[in-house]
């Protein structure tokens, strides 16, 4: 517990949150939103296709969308870590934080399962199966939960 407190009360946090420059907190927060748009936006297109919307899109083409999913994820992992450090002690005891991180982890995992089962060329049963559609639907639902949890967290910051 005191490790997280030391992060939240660190000189870095004081500098980062106390800076009047828009290149510190405001920019990191905006990059986090941009990462979200790329990550969830790309996931949204993939899963819509799996759910039979835009049915004509060749499944293998969706592979390229995963590049954007990973780009968005890396931007948000990096910016998220910075933001976490500045609120570490508050977040580590916040259930909404765990809902957010848990939802992201499972949503990503389901996205990877979809890729392996329906999209990758060597897929055991290529094409869209009922299981793939369930995973896609669940993933979309979890992304929505992650977004809402992220918003609510802002209201629980002390």
């Amino acid at each position: 517990m005191s490790f997280f407190r030391s992060l939240q009360d660190s000189a870095f946090t004081d500098w980062f949150l106390g800076s009047e420059s828009i290149w510190t907190y405001p920019t990191v927060l905006t990059l986090h939103t941009i990462g979200m748009a790329i990550l969830v936006g790309a996931s949204f297109v993939v899963h819509l296709r799996i759910l039979k919307v835009a049915n004509g899109i060749p499944l293998q083409r969706l592979q390229q969308l995963y590049r954007f999913i990973w780009i968005g994820f890396i931007i948000n992992l990096a910016t998220g870590l910075v933001l976490f450090v500045t609120q570490a002690a508050d977040r580590v005891v916040d259930p909404v934080f765990y809902v957010k991180i848990g939802s992201i982890a499972v949503a990503l995992w389901f996205g990877v399962l979809v890729k392996r089962r329906a999209i990758d060329p060597g897929a055991a049963s290529p094409g869209v199966t009922r299981q793939s559609r369930s995973l896609a639907a669940a993933s979309l639902g979890l992304w929505i939960i992650a977004i809402v949890a992220g918003r609510l967290m802002a209201y629980l910051t002390s």
């Binding site: 106390g18 800076s19 009047e20 907190y25 909404v96 809902v99």
Partner: protein, 138 residues
Amino acid sequence: MRIRTRVSLAIAGFALASASVAAHHSFAMFEMDKDVDYRGVVSEWKWQNPHVHFTVDIKPGSGVDPKQVGRWDVEGGSINIMTRQGWTRASYKIGDPIRLVGHPMKDGSKGISLFYAIRPDGTRLYHDIARPKDDVSK
């Protein structure tokens, strides 16, 4: 089923968490069209993003409304916006007397959304661009 269980667990956890949202900070939780005058002493001062945050202690005394006695959580805006309105990190410090006008919490708890502080010379330090209809001077 694995998927359904996980999603249900996530939703349940989320529902539990949202019950505690009433904590603080959504500015929708303040009565934004109520302006109340407070005079006290600064007991905490956090000049930081996303919100400048300080606490004000109001002690009982003559002329002090008993309902106001106690420690109040005052929430301001971002450093960037407040700086543009004339605030600085050094505007107040712990121990300074302060007079401010703000919007109280709807549920009656001791939280204030900062509207403006009033300097000893009577001029106002607004927290953002909002001005009351009767704005006399900045």
